[in-house]
C-alpha cells in the first residue's frame, strides 16, 4: 500500500512537467504581447517596452523562459511576478484560491449530501413515481445551462422575494455563497443522483443483499452498510474528478455572482497574456486533479475489500 502511494506520487512528476510545459507553450503561441498590451491604443515608448520585456525575461527563447520559471517554482516556491501589476503570482493565487475553495467545498457538500440522498431514495423505488420525478428533475438540471439557472435564481430569490443579495459582497460569508454554490452544484448533483440511483437499483437485486435480508438484518443496516458501500464506487469516481471541475470550471458562476475566484483570474490572465499567472493557477489545479484521483483510487480499497494495492 505504501509503495503504491509512493509510486503514484512519483508518476505525478512527468504529468506535472508535461502539463506545465504544454500550457506555457500555448500561452506563448497566442497572438499578442502582455507588455505591449499595457499601452492599449497608444504606441508607448520603445525603451520602456524593452526594459519591461527584459525584466520579465520575455526577450529570451521560450524554453529558457520555461526552465527559469520551473527552477524558481520548484526551488523557491516562486511563481514569478505579474507583468501589469508587479505583484507576486503567489499573492494573486493566495487571493483567489481561498475564495474558490469556499465556494467549491460548499457546492461539493450540497452535491454529495443531496445527490446521494436523492439517488438512494430513487434507487430504492426504481420504476415508481418518486423515481420518475427525481429522474425528470435531474434531467432538467443537466439540460439547463448554468447561467440560465443563475439568472433565474437571482430573479426569483433576490429581486422578487428579496431573501438575499443578488451578488456576493463578502466572500467569507457562507450565507452569501449559498446561492452561487447551489447554482454551481446543480449539474453535478444531477449526475451524482443518477449514478447513485442506477448503482443502487442494480445492487438491490444482488445475492449478498438477499442474504443480508434473509439473515434478518434490519433494513437500515442492509441499505446503509451493505447496499451503500458497494454502490458508491462509480459515484466516488465521479466525485473525485468533479472536485477539480468545480474549482477550475466555475468561471461562469463566479462571473455571474461577482466572486473574485480562480475562474475569473484564469480568464483575466488569459486575456492579458499573463503567462506566469496562468501556469501557476493551472499547475495547482492539475495537482488537485491528480491528488483527488489518487484519493479516489485509495478509497476503492476501503469500499471494496476485494480491491487491493500492493
Amino acid at each position: 500500500m505504501g509503495r503504491y502511494v509512493a509510486r503514484r506520487l512519483l508518476q505525478m512528476i512527468p504529468v506535472f512537467i508535461g502539463t506545465t510545459l504544454l500550457i506555457f507553450l500555448m500561452v506563448y503561441a497566442l497572438p499578442g504581447d502582455p507588455v505591449r498590451g499595457l499601452f492599449g491604443d497608444k504606441a508607448g515608448s520603445p525603451q520602456v517596452i524593452a526594459a519591461l520585456r527584459h525584466e520579465y525575461g520575455l526577450d529570451q527563447p521560450i524554453l529558457v523562459q520555461y526552465w527559469n520559471y520551473m527552477k524558481d517554482m520548484i526551488l523557491h516556491g516562486d511563481f514569478g511576478t505579474q507583468i501589469a501589476s508587479g505583484r507576486p503570482v503567489t499573492e494573486v493565487l493566495g487571493d483567489a484560491f481561498p475564495v474558490t475553495m469556499r465556494l467549491a467545498s460548499l457546492a461539493f457538500a450540497i452535491e454529495v449530501v443531496l445527490g446521494i440522498a436523492l439517488g438512494v431514495v430513487a434507487g430504492l423505488r426504481a420504476g415508481r413515481l418518486t423515481d420518475n420525478v427525481v429522474l425528470l428533475i435531474t434531467l432538467l438540471f443537466i439540460s439547463v445551462p448554468v447561467f440560465v439557472l443563475g439568472f433565474i435564481a437571482k430573479l426569483v430569490f433576490a429581486e422578487q422575494l428579496g431573501w438575499m443579495d443578488p451578488n456576493v459582497n463578502d466572500s467569507t460569508d457562507y450565507g452569501q455563497l449559498l446561492m452561487p454554490a447551489i447554482v454551481l452544484a446543480t449539474a453535478s448533483l444531477a449526475y451524482v443522483t443518477r449514478l447513485t440511483r442506477t448503482s443502487i437499483a442494480e445492487n438491490r437485486r444482488a445475492d449478498y443483499i438477499r442474504t443480508a435480508i434473509a439473515k434478518g438484518l434490519p433494513k437500515s443496516r442492509v441499505v446503509g452498510v451493505h447496499l451503500m458501500r458497494n454502490s458508491m464506487i462509480p459515484v466516488i469516481t465521479y466525485l473525485g474528478t468533479d472536485i477539480g471541475a468545480l474549482m477550475g470550471g466555475a468561471v461562469v458562476t463566479e462571473g455571474l455572482f461577482n466572486i473574485q475566484g480562480v475562474g475569473g483570474t484564469i480568464y483575466e490572465s488569459l486575456v492579458r497574456r499573463e503567462g506566469t499567472t496562468l501556469v501557476g493557477l493551472v499547475t495547482i489545479l492539475v495537482l488537485i486533479y491528480l491528488l483527488a484521483n489518487l484519493l479516489v483510487d485509495l478509497l476503492y480499497a476501503v469500499l471494496d475489500p476485494r480491491i487491493r494495492y500492493a
Binding site: M1, V5, L9, L30, P31, G32, P34, R36, L38, F39, G40, D41, K42, A43, G44, S45, Q47, V48, A50, A51, L52, A84, S85, G86, R87, T90, E91, L93, G94, D95, A96, F97, P98, A158, E159, D165, P166, N167, N169, S171, T172, E254, G255, L256, F257, N258, Q260, V271, R272, I284, L287, I288, L291, A292, L295, L298, L299, A301, V302, P305
Partner: protein
C-alpha cells in the same frame, strides 16, 4: 482489518494533498457598510475593476487605475466641463515663447504624510518617471521636454538621469523647457502623469504603488486586492475641489451586469457604465438617477493605408463610404442610444470642438455615396472588411455598418473578428490589417490637437493606419508654431475642416456615459473622460 488500514492511507494522502495545495494568503475582512452615515462624512461606493497596474501616477494607463490615482493626486492644472484650464496646485503657468514655461506653485500644499509639496516634488517625480529603468508605462508623455532623449535614448544607455529642460528656481517655482514650442502644453499638464511625488516614494516605489501617498482630495486607506480600495477625505487639502463626502470605496466588479444588480439592491452607489443588457430598462428603473450624457471619445473606422487596397486611394471613395453609413439609425437601434452620430473628428467637450465642419460627408445619402465612390474609381476589389476585437461588444455595430454600406453602395463588407483586444492590437502593430479596422480614441487632454495631431501626423504616436500627408504635416507644424493657445486652437480647427479632403479615417459616433447612482447619494456629475467627479458626490443621511 484491511479496510481500517486502507483508511489510514487515505488519511495520509489527504494530508499530502492539503499540504500541496495550501498556498497561503488568508482572506481579510472586507469593508463594512456604514449605513448610518451622516451628511458630510458619509462614504459612498463606486464600481471599479481591479487596477491593472500599481497605483503610481505615471504607471496607470487604464481606466480602473486612473480613477483611483486621480482621487489621490492633484496636479498643476485641471479642466472644467467646457474644456477650459483651471489652476489647481499651480498658481500660474506662464510662457513668453511657448517653449519655456515658468510654473509657480500655490504655497502651503502638503502631501498626505505631512511633507510640503515643492517644485522639487514635481521635477524629481518627472525625472524619475521618464527614466526607462523605472518602467513607467506613461513615460513617453515627457518626450516634449528638453533632455528626454538623453534620459531615455532610443538606443544605448541613458546619458543623463535628469532632463535638462526641468529647473528648480526656488521652493515654489520651476521652469520647463520644451524641445520645440507647444502653445497648448499647459493642457498636457492636467494629465495625471504630471503629478508630484513625495520624498518617501523613492525609498520603495513598489510599496508606494501599493500604498500611495499623494497630495489629492483623498488619502489612501486600504487596498484589499480584487475586493475594494478605500480612500478617505484629506482634511488639510488646499485645492478648490475639496471632497464633499467622507471618502470613497472603490468596489471591484468583474462585469457590469452584477454591478447594476447591486446598484438596485443598494450594495453599490455609483456606476460608471451599464451593460447592454440593462440599457433598455435603466431609465425606467432609476428615473432621474439615470445618467445619459456625452463624453469626449470618438469611434472611427480607419483604412489601413499600408495595404494594396488603400495605398494612394482617392479620398472620394472614403467620403462615399462615409456617406453610406446610416449613423442615425444605427446609434438609435443597434447601439440603443448609447452613442451620438459624429459630425467631425474632434469629440464633444473638447476645446475647439466644432458642431459642423461645413461638409455633408457625415449625412446618410446612398445615391451620392454611390456616385462619389464611382468618381473616385471604386473600392479596389469592391470588397472591404472591418477588423475588430470580439471581446469589446463591437460585433453588432460592425455588422450594422457593413450592412449599411453594402445596401447603399453594393460594396461587399464583412467583419474581421480578432479573438480579443491583444490579438487585435498585435495585428495593428504588425501592420497586418487586411482592409479597415475599428479604432477608438478617448481624450488625454481636452484640446482639439489631441484628436488631430496625435492621430494623423506622419510620426504621431497614435497613428497606426500609416496615414501620411505632407499638407496635414505642414498644417500641424504651423498650428504648433502659433503664438498663442487661441491661435493654435483656431489653426487646428481649420485643419479639421480640411480633413474631409483627405479622409484619414471615417468617424462614426461619439460616446455617451450611460450610468446611474443610488438613492443614497446626490450631486453625481460626470467629467469629459466619462468618469464621475468623486469630490462632488454628497451622501444622504
Amino acid at each position: 482489518m484491511r479496510g481500517a488500514k486502507s483508511a489510514k492511507w487515505v488519511a495520509i494522502a489527504a494530508v499530502v494533498a492539503l499540504g500541496a495545495t495550501a498556498c497561503g494568503g488568508g482572506s481579510s475582512d472586507s469593508g463594512d457598510d456604514s449605513k448610518a452615515a451622516i451628511d458630510p462624512n458619509g462614504k459612498f461606493s463606486i464600481e471599479v475593476g481591479e487596477p491593472q497596474n500599481p497605483l503610481q501616477p505615471a504607471n496607470t494607463m487604464e481606466s480602473n487605475g486612473s480613477i483611483v490615482t486621480r482621487a489621490l493626486f492633484t496636479g498643476l492644472v485641471d479642466y472644467d466641463s467646457s474644456g477650459k484650464i483651471v489652476y489647481m496646485n499651480a498658481q500660474s503657468v506662464d510662457s513668453k515663447d511657448n517653449k519655456t514655461f515658468t510654473v509657480k506653485l500655490k504655497p502651503g500644499w502638503k502631501f498626505h504624510d505631512g511633507t510640503p509639496v515643492t517644485a522639487e516634488s514635481y521635477v524629481k517625480a518627472w525625472n524619475w518617471a521618464a527614466a526607462p529603468a523605472n518602467k513607467q508605462t506613461n513615460s513617453f508623455w515627457f518626450s516634449d521636454i528638453q533632455g528626454y532623449a538623453d534620459v531615455a535614448p532610443e538606443k544605448g544607455k541613458p546619458k543623463a538621469t535628469e532632463m535638462s529642460g526641468l529647473k528648480v528656481v526656488d521652493d515654489n517655482t520651476f521652469t520647463i523647457t520644451l524641445t520645440s514650442p507647444i502653445p497648448y502644453f499647459v493642457y498636457k499638464l492636467g494629465y495625471e502623469v504630471f503629478s508630484p511625488l513625495p520624498e518617501s516614494f523613492y525609498k520603495d516605489p513598489k510599496a508606494a504603488g501599493e500604498k500611495p501617498v499623494g497630495n489629492g482630495p483623498y488619502k489612501f486607506v486600504s487596498w484589499d486586492h480584487k475586493k475594494s480600495i478605500e480612500v478617505a477625505r484629506y482634511d488639510d487639502y488646499q485645492g478648490s475641489n475639496k471632497a464633499k463626502n467622507g471618502g470613497v470605496i472603490f468596489k471591484n466588479y468583474t462585469n457590469l451586469e452584477t454591478a447594476y444588480e447591486d446598484l438596485k439592491s443598494g450594495n453599490v452607489d455609483v456606476l460608471r457604465q451599464l451593460a447592454p443588457r440593462d440599457l433598455p430598462v435603466y431609465k425606467a428603473d432609476l428615473g432621474d438617477r439615470a445618467v445619459d450624457q456625452a463624453y469626449s471619445a470618438v469611434q472611427t473606422i480607419a483604412p489601413a493605408f499600408y495595404t494594396k487596397q488603400w495605398k494612394g486611394i482617392d479620398p472620394k471613395v472614403l467620403q462615399g463610404l462615409s456617406m453610406a453609413i446610416d449613423r442615425n439609425t444605427i446609434t438609435k437601434t443597434v447601439l440603443q442610444g448609447t452613442r451620438e452620430p459624429a459630425t467631425g473628428w474632434v469629440a464633444k467637450g473638447v476645446l475647439g470642438y466644432q458642431p459642423s465642419l461645413g461638409t455633408d460627408i457625415f449625412t446618410y445619402d446612398p445615391a451620392k455615396a454611390k456616385k462619389l465612390i464611382q468618381e473616385g474609381g471604386g473600392v479596389p476589389g469592391n470588397k472591404i472588411s472591418i477588423q475588430f476585437n470580439a471581446d469589446g461588444g463591437h460585433k453588432e455595430w460592425v455588422e450594422a455598418v457593413c450592412g449599411s454600406i453594402t445596401k447603399a453602395t453594393g460594396v461587399a463588407c464583412t467583419g474581421d473578428s480578432k479573438a480579443d483586444f491583444q490579438a487585435d492590437l498585435q495585428a495593428r502593430d504588425a501592420q497586418e490589417v487586411k482592409s479597415m479596422y475599428r479604432s477608438g480614441w478617448v481624450l488625454d487632454y481636452p484640446f482639439n490637437a489631441n484628436f488631430l495631431r496625435d492621430l494623423f501626423g506622419t510620426k504621431s504616436s497614435g497613428n497606426q493606419s500609416g496615414f501620411s500627408n505632407k499638407e496635414i504635416d505642414t498644417l500641424i507644424t504651423q498650428a504648433d508654431a502659433a503664438k498663442t493657445q487661441e491661435e493654435s486652437e483656431k489653426l487646428y480647427q481649420e485643419l479639421e475642416k480640411k480633413l474631409p479632403e483627405y479622409m484619414p479615417s471615417i468617424p462614426l459616433w461619439y460616446y455617451k456615459v450611460n450610468a446611474g447612482y443610488s438613492e443614497k447619494v446626490t450631486g453625481v456629475k460626470y467629467a469629459q473622460d466619462g468618469d464621475p467627479i468623486l469630490t462632488g458626490v454628497q451622501v444622504k443621511k
